[in-house]
């Protein structure tokens, strides 16, 4: 099997034809020569390579997505049981249940994101590669985003079934997507931070959940509004909060990620 990474557009296509012989071509072995990077295309290729590597590893090892999904389904079921007797109307609790399950199940996947690299010492291999550290962040970010979205693709129908509510509505799905982007942006960075601390797995939720409060509130309010049959004008502020959150934290994460891996 030739893996798909090798099918990526070779850099050659964008580059000018080789020009006059360089000084060092005559004595090729003598020195390490600096080379300016592959530009944006090269950067994106590496982001994709890292994300694809994580996705492929997940297909084989089933460490993060699979545990996330198993946890999510269990959690929805347990919430259904917990509220079955005393809550007359599922609409009252479904928004909260949905977002609690999203937040808590996400922790499992995020922990594995850098935890797997730290456990096997492979982080050094990524850091040795000639690429900006932020490419590592974005590669991990996209892999985690895919895991989360797939996870949510099961949480939503599960909530629909257990609570018998039409939760698959356009703006709820948009809200879940926007919230997930912010969640994964912050979560990926915090996972990288927590991977270097002693109590890694238990540290992440303590770090992450208080910072996720705005996304959580916006998500719950949005979902409740949509379920109540309100119109877009009434709940669009929640979408904007998520958009602002996403923009702020993706930018800051990009800016500070370089600082995390100064040394391993």
């Amino acid at each position: 099997m030739i893996v798909s990474i090798s099918n990526a557009t070779p850099a050659q296509e964008q580059m000018p034809p080789l020009h006059e012989p360089q000084l060092d071509e005559a004595k090729p072995e003598q020195a390490v020569k600096m080379r300016t990077g592959g530009g944006l295309a090269g950067y994106l290729r590496k982001v994709w390579a890292i994300a694809a590597k994580d996705l492929r590893a997940e297909l084989r090892a089933k460490e993060s997505l699979s545990t996330m999904i198993a946890f999510s389904l269990l959690a929805v079921l347990i919430f259904g049981l917990a509220f079955d007797l005393r809550v007359p109307d599922a609409e009252m609790i479904a928004p909260g249940v949905l977002w609690v399950v999203i937040l808590f199940s996400g922790i499992l996947g995020l922990n594995r994101s850098f935890g797997a690299e730290a456990d096997r010492g492979t982080m050094a291999a990524l850091l040795l590669a000639p690429v900006d550290r932020s490419a590592i962040y974005f590669g991990k970010f996209f892999a985690n985003l895919v895991f989360m979205l797939l996870n949510e693709a099961l949480i939503l129908p599960a909530t629909l079934i257990i609570f018998d509510l039409n939760i698959l509505q356009l703006w709820i799905v948009v809200g879940v997507f926007l919230g997930t982007v912010g969640y994964v942006a912050v979560g990926t960075l915090f996972a990288a931070l927590a991977a270097n601390s002693r109590a890694r797995e238990s540290m992440l939720p303590i770090l992450l959940l208080p910072v996720m409060v705005p996304v959580f509130m916006a998500g719950v309010a949005l979902t409740a509004n949509v379920l109540d049959g309100r119109v877009l004008e009434e709940f669009q502020r929640w979408l904007w909060i998520m958009v602002v959150y996403d923009l702020v934290f993706v930018t800051v994460a990009y800016l500070v990620f370089e600082l995390i891996w100064e040394e391993v």
């Binding site: 020569k33 080379r35 290729r45 291999a125 040795l128 391993v264």
Partner: protein, 270 residues
């Protein structure tokens, strides 16, 4: 598919072909040593691991670093490779300072560390394909096939690394380090866990690679191997280089004597 032969001309040709923007930094005409370490200090918590290391390895040279466990061999190699930071001092690779160069200089470094730096749920081929992408290799499949043959894993290339023996993992780790044909090769105890056959293969590989004007720095516990494999040996005692000699004038027996003596002196003075 022609088996890929590693030559130094290939290294630069590949590098040349990879150039997107041809802006070579001034290459000094008199060739500087590929690895130059200037007064390197490193402290880990309470321990002074390195205390003023000075060394240089020229092109075509294989140098072995020796020392007890915890003498700082791994730390030194990690700092040269750029994944750890020194407290003081400077690493200059081929005349370019590691600190000033930014991430593109990492292209010229290959590292075999204690951890194999491989993803064990992926196959050998997938691992190398991933790293080929990270290093922007042109025509990766040909190069990967070449490396897999060089380290004798071609027949097992599609099995996940998880199923490999210790020796096979170590060979693949070496394959990973030489995949992008780096002129600077750092091998941290590459011979641990290798059976006789694999060790022989590694020796041949080091000899070929070294002959192609690379600078190879390897650490080992095996003094006989150091004499046999390297052009020169450096003995690390108490965070300093206590002894340096070319292997042409040295036998394993002599080296052992020096080693024992220096460490005895060190423990006396401590």
């Amino acid at each position: 598919m022609t088996p890929h032969k590693i030559t130094a001309t290939n290294v630069m040709a590949e590098v040349q072909a990879n150039e997107l923007v041809a802006e070579p930094v001034n290459v000094p005409t008199s060739s500087p040593p590929l690895i130059q370490v200037n007064r390197l200090y490193k402290r880990y918590g309470r321990k002074n691991v390195l205390r003023g290391i000075e060394m240089s390895v020229g092109a075509g040279q294989v140098m072995a670093i020796l020392g007890d466990n915890g003498a700082g061999k791994s730390t030194l190699l990690r700092i040269i490779s750029g994944i750890a930071k020194a407290d003081r001092g400077e690493i200059v690779l081929g005349g370019v300072s590691l600190k000033a160069a930014g991430h593109e200089l990492r292209r010229y470094i290959g590292l075999v560390s204690h951890a194999p730096l491989l993803y064990d749920s992926l196959s050998a081929e997938e691992n190398l394909a991933f790293f080929a992408a990270m290093y922007d290799l042109e025509e990766p499949s040909a190069r990967i096939a070449g490396v897999l043959r060089d380290v004798d894993l071609w027949t097992r290339r599609r099995d996940p690394v998880r199923t490999y023996s210790r020796g096979m993992i170590q060979r693949l780790a070496i394959g990973r380090a030489i995949l992008h044909n780096p002129p600077v090769l750092l091998l941290d105890e590459p011979d641990t866990g290798l059976d006789q056959e694999s060790a022989q293969m590694l020796q041949n590989l080091i000899r070929t690679l070294g002959a192609e004007n690379r600078a190879i720095l390897l650490s080992t516990h095996n003094l006989d191997r150091a004499v046999e494999w390297a052009d020169s040996v450096s003995l690390l005692v108490g965070g300093k280089i206590a002894y340096e000699e070319t292997t042409a004038k040295l036998s394993g027996v002599q080296l052992r004597k020096v080693y024992a003596q220096l460490y005895a002196e060190a423990s006396e003075s401590a």
